[in-house]
């Protein structure tokens, strides 16, 4: 799998992502600065990592969505390419329109840094193949603007077409308000594009891929991608 991590000014979780991808694939991903206007030939996966692109001084991800490289990412996605956006990367995906909805300020009006649990709502995708439907896994979250919002029509479509990838849950899998720290609509933590090749989520599975750091709960996402894209 040839993975490319896009680095915007202010991106800060690109190394975490590279560690997770290398742990799953045995190959170092390529780091690509946002000024580039094309992706390397043979790119299998584009990753938009976490951070504060352009300081997030405008709406989170709004500036990065206008970066030169994003046209190439949109073209890549239009050709059926696989794209993962985590945290700020998810925000950028919604700002570019590659995924619907928006990430609002956390309902607590505070930055939230803690482990959360997510229930796998859609197994069998390139991002979730190594989980079973309903599995619960843990991951750190660290964001000020992770409160997923979309209108009724979009929500009905996401639910109707089974495009919600992950929901915030209790450790035993219950979808409760208390498990939904940032106030996301319908406890939505991550969503998929209709072709199941674009995924955005707020928490950081890339920061939980090593028992030494507290567990390997996040690793299945990356092994799923490696196995799915090895044959793609």
């Amino acid at each position: 799998m040839n993975a490319v991590i896009i680095v915007f000014p202010g991106t800060n979780r690109e190394r975490d992502m590279a560690i997770a991808l290398e742990r799953a694939s045995g190959r170092k991903p390529t780091m690509l600065f946002h000024r580039a206007d094309s992706l390397p030939a043979g790119t299998d996966l584009v990753v938009l990592p976490g951070g504060f692109s352009h300081g997030d001084y405008l709406r989170c991800g709004a500036m990065a969505a206008q970066s030169p490289i994003m046209q190439a990412v949109k073209d890549f996605a239009a050709r059926g390419g696989h794209v993962l956006g985590v945290c700020n990367g998810f925000q950028i995906l919604t700002e570019t329109g590659l995924l619907p909805g928006a990430l609002l300020r956390n309902a607590t009006l505070r930055f939230l840094s803690m482990d959360c649990h997510m229930r796998v709502e859609r197994a069998g995708t390139p991002f979730t193949a190594n989980w079973r439907q309903g599995d619960v896994f843990r991951a750190p979250m660290a964001h000020g603007d992770g409160n997923y919002f979309c209108d009724e029509e979009t929500l009905a479509r996401l639910n109707g077409e089974n495009l919600v990838a992950f929901r915030y849950a209790t450790p035993d899998g219950a979808i409760t308000p208390a498990a939904n720290r940032n106030g996301a609509r319908d406890n939505i933590a991550g969503i998929l594009s209709p072709n199941l090749r674009i995924c955005g989520l707020m928490p950081h599975p890339e920061d939980l891929v090593d028992p030494l750091m507290g567990g390997e709960d996040g690793l299945p996402m990356f092994t799923s991608l490696v196995e799915s894209l090895a044959t793609a």
Binding site: R13, R15, D16, F52, Y57, F111, L112, S113, D207
Partner: protein, 739 residues
């Protein structure tokens, strides 16, 4: 072009010098050095360079007595941060620095720029920052403005550290009314660099270009260093314009651009523009290198129109660095900074005159000889008065009004012992993917080095109430506790940074606190092989004449050959609990005495440095041989609080044996005797035997299991109940809600 600056009228200059904070004969020294009356810019330069904040004029004679050397010390005090050898060809670069005064005036920006400033001190030496910590002291939450200060400081630290992408992995918080008018915000950064690629600040190479990079210069923070060198009065809010504004995004770009440039061979010297901005960076770099420096203010990137040379030299605008480059490399370096969308400007060159010359709009605005600016700087050995010794309290003579479990419940919910989760949940502690022990999981934070097995353990410590009662014992205790916390995770303690927060040094009792604290720290550093490699002094922490508790905050760094060998403090079921160290039941200055008996008095617990060393070395060896499942040092609150913290961490209870004969029960449970640890092991008897052979006091005091904390005799409390009390305090206080 005029060749001499235009002097101020002498009477006006003398009056201004007092406003700028120059005292006593300091203005006469300026006249003697220049041989004439200074210009406004020159007076500004002298006053900030000779401010307490920049010159350490009251503290230097004492700081010199601290031990600063060890075989693993690469650079001790005197550089932007301390540098130690941590193995694998790497160096750890670290320092702690205060931003007390700005954080009280404007909590969010004060705390945020404190984090930004200490990050720059570390990456300016070539290190990638890998961890931030912070040591905070707040007043009573009921004091005016204090909740707003707490909220703003925590948001500011998070707002800056989270954005810049350096994990905030630990720290400490105390509350005491002595900080009502003067909270303390001490920020620490640890970075990693190849040990043969350390960048220093001494300028060299006559003619070499002086380069300014980073943010533009504005009018913020002018005379911030002077403000930080004076007491507060009731009108301190009027000083808000002296507080700087932080921009973590620019800092992040600056880190990446500087590290990219540092991978080349273009840099001769580099220093961040911290307190006193362009003035201190240019004066210190040229002064250390023994060269002259000439700067053209017209070339300084400016955020506002019409700025004067005086304003530019005194501005403390954030996220700026000054570098000396090798000649002819300007274009290559500029390309890197433009890639990161940062300003880059050649603003001058080095000269052989030994003078700093500031030019602006065709005029010379300052022309000062550098050597006397440093050598003639004021240095005071101020009068000291010893703190009177307090009586030793006998636990047996103090009534226990409530019994151990009721006291425990109160203590774990008290401000100084309650869960800090509300705070650390606002700090990104995992960015970087190397955080092995997060806040609350162990006595020290543990961060692995990317791509290696090796890890660092990091902690900050100080017990100000001990320092108030006995500054010498308190100074020693702060160092010993840092050493103990590193030991308790299995790390080998290497070195410390100190952040000396005290009141007005012109008062003999305050200067006496300072001198005594340094004496205690020095003794502990020597006994524990734990030298001081960097530090910061913050004096004049007083508002309307009331001083803070003396607070020599210690930041300690230790190394683990294999981060996987580190252990945390959470109990697991089925283990023996072994108490290491001698327990006399010392209640003087304990939290039990304050929170349960309502008394703040007595001598603090003595620090036996030989016992500290012996017990700690024994504990560390057991951890590294892999026989210890959990370890926690005994500090605030004593034995029962420590066991409760181990229980609450993972919900596993314990049954404890009765206090031994000869120790008052409340002294046994809550005494704060030093040099002690609780270890959870599978073979308690074996551990006690090994301890005995090593001359280390040890006893099995209980066994883990169940969901309750059970005392001999059968009284018990559920860990869930304790946890509820422990977690409720800060959310209730700050959000008005349950945890």
């Amino acid at each position: 072009m005029s060749t001499l600056p235009i002097p101020l009228d002498t009477a006006r200059a003398k009056q201004l010098s007092a406003e700028f904070g120059l005292k006593g004969d300091e203005f006469d020294r300026v006249l003697a050095i220049l041989g004439r009356t200074p210009s406004l810019t020159e007076l500004g330069i002298f006053s900030v360079m000779w401010s307490e904040h920049c010159s350490y004029k009251s503290s230097r004679v004492w700081l010199r007595t601290l031990p600063t050397k060890a075989p693993w010390v690469i650079h001790g005090p005197g550089e932007n941060a301390g540098v130690i050898d941590i193995g694998d060809g790497l160096a750890a670069i670290f320092k702690m620095e205060s931003h007390n005064h700005p954080s009280f005036i404007e909590p969010y920006q004060g705390a945020a720029t404190g984090v930004g400033g200490i990050l720059r001190d570390v990456f300016t030496m070539g290190a990638r920052p890998i961890a931030n910590l912070n040591a905070l002291r707040f007043g009573s939450p009921e004091a005016p403005r204090m909740k707003r200060v707490i909220d703003g400081v925590v948001r500011g630290i998070g707002g800056y550290g989270n954005s810049v992408g350096v994990p905030t992995v630990g720290g400490e918080v105390n509350f005491h009314p002595a900080y009502n008018g003067n909270p303390l915000v001490n920020a620490m950064t640890v970075g990693i660099a190849p040990k043969d690629r350390i960048f220093l600040s001494a300028a060299a190479g006559i003619g070499n270009p002086v380069v300014y990079v980073g943010s533009k210069t504005g009018r913020d923070g002018i005379h911030g260093a002077t403000m930080a060198s004076a007491e507060f009065s009731a009108d301190s809010e009027e000083k808000r314009p002296t507080v700087q504004i932080g921009d973590p995004f620019t800092e992040k770009l600056l880190i990446e651009a500087c590290l990219e440039l540092m991978a080349t061979d273009m840099i001769v010297a580099i220093q961040d523009m911290g307190a006193a901005g362009l003035t201190s960076s240019s004066v210190e770099m040229a002064g250390k290198g023994g060269v002259g420096i000439e700067l053209v203010m017209d070339n300084v990137p400016q955020r506002e129109v019409g700025m004067t040379a005086y304003e530019m030299m005194l501005s403390e605008s954030q996220e700026r660095m000054l570098m000396i480059l090798k000649p002819g490399r300007e274009a290559e370096a500029e390309a890197i900074f433009h890639k990161w969308e940062l300003d880059f400007a050649v603003i001058g060159h080095l000269t052989d005159t030994g003078r700093i010359v500031i030019r602006h709009k065709g005029m010379v605005e300052a022309d000062i000889p550098l050597a006397p600016l440093e050598s003639e700087a004021p240095l005071y050995r101020r009068p000291t008065a010893e703190t009177p010794k307090q009586p030793v309290l006998d636990a047996a003579s103090i009534a226990d009004p409530v019994g151990p479990l009721a006291a425990l419940t109160t203590l774990v919910g008290s401000l100084d012992l309650c869960s800090r989760r509300w705070i650390w949940d606002q700090y990104d502690s995992t960015v970087g993917g190397q955080t092995v022990k997060r806040p609350g999981g162990a006595d020290a934070a543990v961060v692995k080095l990317e791509g290696l097995k090796r890890g660092l353990a990091i902690t900050t410590d100080c017990t100000p109430r001990y320092c108030q009662a006995d500054p010498e014992a308190g100074g020693a205790q702060a160092v010993a506790e840092a050493w103990r916390n590193l030991t308790a995770v299995g790390a080998r303690p290497l070195a410390i940074t100190d952040n000396m927060n005290f009141g007005n040094p012109e008062k003999p009792e305050i200067m006496g606190q300072f001198a005594s604290a340094v004496r205690g720290m020095a003794a502990a550093c020597i006994a524990l092989d734990f030298p001081v490699v960097s530090g910061n002094v913050s004096l004049y922490n007083e508002t309307e004449g009331r001083a803070i508790l003396p607070t020599p905050a210690i930041g300690g760094v230790g190394v683990l050959e294999d981060a996987a060998q580190s252990i945390g403090l959470a109990l697991k079921p089925g283990l023996d609990l072994v108490l290491i160290g001698d327990t006399k039941g010392w209640l003087g200055q304990s939290l039990w005495l304050r929170e349960i008996a309502g008394r703040e008095e007595g001598a603090p617990p003595p620090v036996d440095l030989a016992a500290e060393r012996r017990n700690g070395d024994f504990v560390r060896a057991r951890i590294l041989e892999g026989t210890v499942a959990a370890c926690h040092d005994l500090a605030d609150g004593g034995l029962l609080v420590a066991v409760a913290e181990m229980a609450m961490a993972d919900g596993t209870g314990a049954t404890l044996t009765a206090p031994p004969a000869g120790v008052a029960p409340h002294g046994w449970w809550f005494g704060e005797d030093q040099a002690r640890y609780v270890l959870a092991v599978t073979d308690g008897a074996g551990l006690v035997a090994a301890a005995s052979a090593a001359g280390v006091p040890a006893a099995v005091i209980g066994r883990s299991g169940g969901g309750d904390l059970v005392l001999a005799g059968g009284s018990s409390i559920s860990v869930a109940t304790l946890r509820a009390a422990h977690e409720a305090t800060l959310p209730a206080l700050m959000e008005g809600r349950a945890a």
